[in-house]
Symmetry: C2
Subunit: 457 residues, 2 copies
Amino acid sequence: MSDLKPQEASPADFEEELWDLLRAKEYAVAAELLRNTRTAVVERVLDRTPPSLMPLAFRLLDKDVAVEVFSNMEPMLQSDLIDGLADEHTQDLFSQLESSTQARLLDEVPAEVAQRLLASLGEHERNVAARILGYPDDSVGRRMTVVAQELTRDMTAATALNIIRDVAVADYEVNNLTVLPVGSTTHKVLGLVHLPRLVRAEPDDLVADIMEPTQTVSIHDDAEDAARTVVYDRIEALPVVDEAERLIGMLTVAGAQQILEEAESESSLRSGGAEPLGQPYLSTSVLHLVKSRITWLLVLAVGATLTVQVLDYFEDTLAAMVVLTLFVPLLTGTGGNTGNQAATTVTRAIALSQVTTRDYIRVIRREALVGVTLGLLLGTLGLVGATLFFEFHIGLVIGTTLLVICTLAATVGSIMPLIASKIGVDPAVFSNPFISTVVDALGLVVYFLIAKTILGI
Amino acid sequence: MSDLKPQEASPADFEEELWDLLRAKEYAVAAELLRNTRTAVVERVLDRTPPSLMPLAFRLLDKDVAVEVFSNMEPMLQSDLIDGLADEHTQDLFSQLESSTQARLLDEVPAEVAQRLLASLGEHERNVAARILGYPDDSVGRRMTVVAQELTRDMTAATALNIIRDVAVADYEVNNLTVLPVGSTTHKVLGLVHLPRLVRAEPDDLVADIMEPTQTVSIHDDAEDAARTVVYDRIEALPVVDEAERLIGMLTVAGAQQILEEAESESSLRSGGAEPLGQPYLSTSVLHLVKSRITWLLVLAVGATLTVQVLDYFEDTLAAMVVLTLFVPLLTGTGGNTGNQAATTVTRAIALSQVTTRDYIRVIRREALVGVTLGLLLGTLGLVGATLFFEFHIGLVIGTTLLVICTLAATVGSIMPLIASKIGVDPAVFSNPFISTVVDALGLVVYFLIAKTILGI
C-alpha cells in the first residue's frame, strides 16, 4: 500500500493545506484537519513544518496527542517549541511528560527556562526529574521509564491482574503495560512477568511460578549498550537498578528503539563525515550544516596534505615520466574503495557481534587474503589495460601496484574497526578518515617505489 | 554492566570451553553448559562457532530452545545446518517452525531437500507454507506471522480474554500475544485490541469499544516499507490482508525488527561497496567475501578510468607544470568528502522522512549554499597554504579550485540521494560510486581549466 512509504506518509496536499490554513489563520479548520490525522503522520509533518508555523500548528493539537507528539520530538526541536509557546501552556504540557522526557528537555533549554519548568512540577515529580538529571549523559538512567508498579513473588495471578487493571498511567502509555517487574521487599529485581502469561495462568497461580528470570542494567550503564541488548536479545523490557540493586525503572523496547535510531543517525552521519544535526534537516540553518561538516573536512584535508608531500618527494620521478601521473587518482581511489569494503564488512560484523576484538588475528588474516585475491584480479586487468593503451612496462607498474595496494588497503581496512571497538569509539566513524589518509599516502609511496624499480628512473 | 556490550555477551571463556568440550566429545557437559546460558547468548556463540562444530553444538540444545535459536538464524546458515543434521531430527525441527520461517528455509535449501521437508509437514501446514512461498520475494506475505486467532466486534472483554487464555501457540511465542486483530464475519480487518486495554476493561465491555483503528498492508507490499511503518509509527502489529481485504497474518514488531536489521546490514554493506554475506562473517569463505566485493570494485575502477582520460587530455599542462600534479589527490579527495557529507546528510533525512523527493529544490539550494561556504573556508586556507609553500599563482589556482569543487560536490552529493529515492533504489547504495566518479572527473577538469586560465599555460 503506497501510503506505507515514509516519503508518502505525509501527503504533499495535506501538508500544504495545513500550512496554508495556518498562514490564513483558519485555526479551527486546521485543528479539525489535524484531529483526523494519525499521530505518527502529524509528527512527520511537524518535523517538516517551517519554524514560523510550527508552534501555531502544535498549539492546535488535542492535549494528549500534543503530549505524545512532543515526547517524540528531538530535544533541540522541543526546546525551540518551548520558546514559541505561552508559559502556562508550556508548564501544563511539561508536567504531563514522562519523567525521562522532562529530564532530557530540562537539559536542553536555557537555565532560567529550566527553572520555570521545574517550578511547575509537584514536589515528587520535581525530585524524580532532578534525580534523573543527576545521572551521567548517555546513561540508561537518563532514558529509562520510571516504574509505575512492581509485583511481588507471592502474589496470585489474579491479584497481579487487578494491580495492572488499577495502576494509573497516561492513556498513551497503557499499551506499554505488557511486561511488569517483580521486586523483593527491598525492591531487588527478582524477574519479569509478561502479561500474556499472566492472562493465561490460573487465577491462583503465584507470580513466582509465572515470572521469567531477567538480567538488569545499572542506571549508570551506557544507554546505547543497554538498548542494543534489548533489541538483540528480544527483551520486552530491561529493569534498571541503582547501586544498591534496587529497581528504579525499565528500559522499554520503544525507548531502546529511540536510542538506537539516534545512535544510528549519529554514526551514519559521522561515517559520512558530518555531525548529527539534533533537529530535522529542513529546519536546520545552513550555518549549522556548515558547522556540522567543516571540522571533519579540515581533518581530512590536512590528512590529504600527506599525499602532497609524498608526490613532492617524488617530483623528479613525475617530471621524468608524466604518464605516471595519469594513474594517481585511479590507484588511490581503488585503494580507498578496497579499504572501505573491508572496514564496512568488519564494522558490520562487530555491530552484529559476530566478531569481537579477540578475533583480530582471524579477521586480519582473512582480509589480507581477500585483499591479495582482489589485487590479483584487478592487477591483471590493470596490467592488460595499461599495456594496451600505453606500454608493457607501465602495465607492469600499474598491475603490481594494484596488487600491493589492494592487499595493503584490505588489511588496514580490517584493522581500523578492530582498533576502534577496542578503544571504544564507533568503528563506522573512526575508520573512514584514517583509511583514506593512510592508504592514499602509503599507496603513492608504493606506486613510485615500484615505478622507480621497474622503469629504472 | 559490562556483560551488556555485544562483544562481551559471548564471553571468550564460555565459547572456548564449549568448543573444547565438543572437540573432546564431552557432549553431556556441553549440553549442561548450553542449558545454563541465555538463548540470545547461545545464538551469538553459534554464529561464531566453526562450521565443523556447529551441528554438534546445535544438536545438544533443548528442543524448544533449538526451535527458537534456529528460527533466528540467517537462512543460509539454517540451510548449512540442515545438511549437518540427521533427517528425522531435521524434519522434527522443521515441523515446529513458524510457517514464514519454514517458507524462507524452503526457499534456501536445494529442491530435493525442500521436497523432503515439505513431506514432513501435515497437509494444512504444508498448504500454508506453500501459499507463503507463492508470495513475491521481499513481500510482507513472506515475513508475516500467520494469525493464531482473531476477535469479533460483538465479543465481550471477558470472552476475548478467554480466547487468549485458550489459543494454542508455541511456548516461545506466547509473549507475542499482546495485540490481537478484530475481524468481521468476512474476515475483513476492523481494528486491533491491545491486551493491556482488554485487561483493564470491564468484563462486559464490548471489543468494539476497546479496539483501536488500524491501517493494513497487502501481502504483496514491500516487507521493508511495512517494517519501517511498524517501527516509525510505533505500531505493535500490522495486519496483513489479501486481495479481498481478508486478514491473513500480522507483521509483528519482532518481525519488523528482523527485516530492518537485514535491510540495514544490506545497505550499510552496499554503501561500503560490498554485498551482504547472508551468513556470519567468520563462517563466510574468503572466496565468498571476494565475490561480494569484486563487482563493485570493478565498477568503481572503470569509473575511475575517466580520471585517467581527463589527466591524459591535460597531459601537456601537467608536463608544463609538474607541481600541479601534487594537488590532484588532495583536490579529488576533498571533493569526494564534501560530496559524501552532503549525500549522507540528505540520505539520512530521507530515511527519517524529514525530506521527500518533492523537496528537491529546497534541498539542492541548501546544499549548494553549504558547498559555497565550505569552499570559501577551505579555498582561503588552500590559497594561503599553497602560496606559502609554493607561490601565489599556485595558491590562487588551488584556492579557486577548492571553492568550485566544494560547491560542485555538495550539489552533486545532494542530488544523488534524491534521484535514488525517486527511482526507488537505496540512496545509501546508489550515491557513493556516482559521487566519487562524477566529482573526481569533473573536479579535475575544473582544476586544469582554472590552472590554464590563471597560469596562462
